[in-house]
Amino acid sequence: MGIGIAIMAMVSLGGLGEGITEQMEAFAGGGVHLVGMEAGASMDLSTIDQEKVRRIDRLPRVRHAEGFLTGYAQVGALPYFVVFGYRPRGQMIGDFQIVEGERLATSRQIIIGRVAADNLDKRVGETLRVFESTFRIVGIYETGVPFEDGGGVISLRAAQNLFGQPRKVSFLGIQVKDPLNAEEVIRQIERRFPSVSISRASEFSQDVVDLQMMQDATWAIALLALLVGSAGMTNTMVMSVFERTQEIGVLRALGWSRLRVVGMVLRESIALSLLGGAVGVATGVGMIGVINALPFFEGLAQATFSLGLFAQALFTALVLGALGGTYPAWRASHLEPVEALRYE
């Protein structure tokens, strides 16, 4: 059970981490080659002066650079409603595919994601209050990125007013003229604007400090759970060997070598561990499914489960089983037959 719980933690946290990374990559993608944010800042505190965005846009090797703002607000029953601020006539807003209604036009309008519309039970034509401002819902979009579909888009200016960030953006998306020269463009921008950190869109998640911290924390928690699970496994196997002292004495009396006894105990330990691992994988996936089904999580925490994660989880279970069974196996093999036979 200890191994199962540990593997469940590993799979669920790992799946969440992978999901968030995927979302970040999708969020940062959408037709841009490079993504910029404030150097060294966490995602929710990144601010870049809009003037810098304009200057980057004018660089010879840059086809187009555009900034956008993100922020969080509690809207209705949703504690984490992501608000995106884009230029209504910009290129990047085109990633938000309108499936109902029309595109954003003015600063008193909002388009919301399909998930947000369902969670808030809102339709086109209704209004939505964000902080002290009221917006008219003119359209519903779908992007396939959970935390985008769980939020809404207003004009950049409206977002800057809403969050008190005049002439600021959180991120910028850059299209370069020649993608093969992307690295050179990155160096050029970072040299000229040291306060801006640029990443390839596909590698954005790797350069985001708080994502890295989150992943490190995820693995630290999973590692802790695995250590606890391993200790539990060792304890279980030690108890098993203890209870089967006489049986092991019989095996030794019948001619089983120490090595064969070690093999038997290790095989049992690994089998138990793999079983726990399989249950842990299933439980981890199931638990994330339950969490995802909760309304306020639906547009936020979408886990992605890769075959690599499952393979990693089962391999970890196997290793834990082997490690956890090592001491009990050694102990079992060193029981003297005559003493073990007398044990009651």
Binding site: Q246, E247, L251, R252, G255, W256, S257, R258, P337, L341
Partner: protein, 275 residues
């Protein structure tokens, strides 16, 4: 002894030190011929099981030698293979693995020595030999005490050992079932020619053997070929306190035993049996 000597001990001593020193074996010299059915009898604590453990290489002597098939066990490097191939054990409490079927229990000693198919075939053959061909797939808790002990005997024969060591094989069985198990061992002794060494505190079981070694306080105090029941009763009587008193003519000791008339009858018995 006409046959080859298969088991021999020379001044075998075993001392256990658990706080106080216990001299479980105090210089045991004995020989057992190949194909013999020998019982080792004596009261609890006489050293019978310790002697068996020495012969079966389950324990090491403090002094002296135990030789099996002419080999000094102290010189044998691979005792696991010795225990698997040269001796077979039958324990008092059968010690079957509870989660394995009768067939699987019999296969256990053969793991690592025979292939899977061969193990299965041999296990089935042995179970049929001991009369349990119809119980091969039963778990130990689905078998009677006598049946479990038969499985234990079959398991002991798995690797065709030269010697079967049985430690109180009937100790946990009723008289009738115990007699069946001993009868089975006798039959196997005759059919297969395996040497049987049976430790028991039950004289009726001991008398089923060809020869009886009697132990007391870690020594062999008597050794003889099994005679008629009367001869055995007489021998046992001689070893008893009353018998000793009559043999030695100790008038004072005699006083503590029964009536004058009974003592006269017993004395006559002794005379008839020949002192």
């Amino acid at each position: 002894m006409p046959s080859e000597i298969i088991v021999e001990t020379q001044d075998l001593v075993k001392v256990y030190s658990n706080g106080t020193k216990v001299r479980a074996l105090d210089g045991v010299d004995m020989q057992i011929a190949k194909g013999e059915f020998v019982s080792v009898q004596g009261p609890s604590g006489s050293g019978k099981s310790t002697l068996l453990n020495m012969i079966g290489a389950l324990d090491r002597p403090s002094k002296g030698k135990a030789l099996v098939g002419g080999r000094d066990l102290a010189q044998v490097r691979d005792l696991d293979t010795f225990r698997a191939r040269t001796v077979g054990f039958v324990f008092q409490l059968h010690n079957l693995i509870p989660t394995l079927t009768a067939r699987e229990n019999v296969e256990v000693p053969m793991v690592g020595h025979r292939g899977r198919g061969e193990r299965r075939e041999r296990a089935e053959e042995l179970l049929r030999l001991v009369g349990l061909g119809h119980r091969m797939d039963h778990l130990p808790n689905q078998l009677s005490g006598g049946q479990r002990q038969r499985v234990a005997v079959a398991r002991a024969l798995a690797n065709e050992p030269e010697i079967i060591l049985a430690d109180e094989p009937t100790g946990d069985l009723d008289t009738e079932t115990g007699a069946e198990v001993v009868s089975l061992m006798q039959e196997l002794n005759r059919e297969l020619g395996s040497t049987f060494i049976v430790v028991t505190h039950d004289p009726s079981v001991a008398r089923q053997a060809d020869r009886i070694l009697t132990m007391c306080d870690g020594k062999i105090v008597d050794e003889h070929r099994v005679g008629t029941p009367f001869e055995e009763d007489l021998a046992e009587f001689r070893r008893s306190g009353l018998g000793q008193a009559i043999i030695e003519g100790e008038a004072e000791s005699l006083q503590q035993f029964d009536t004058q008339e009974e003592r006269r009858v017993l004395q006559r018995l002794l005379e008839e049996g020949g002192r």
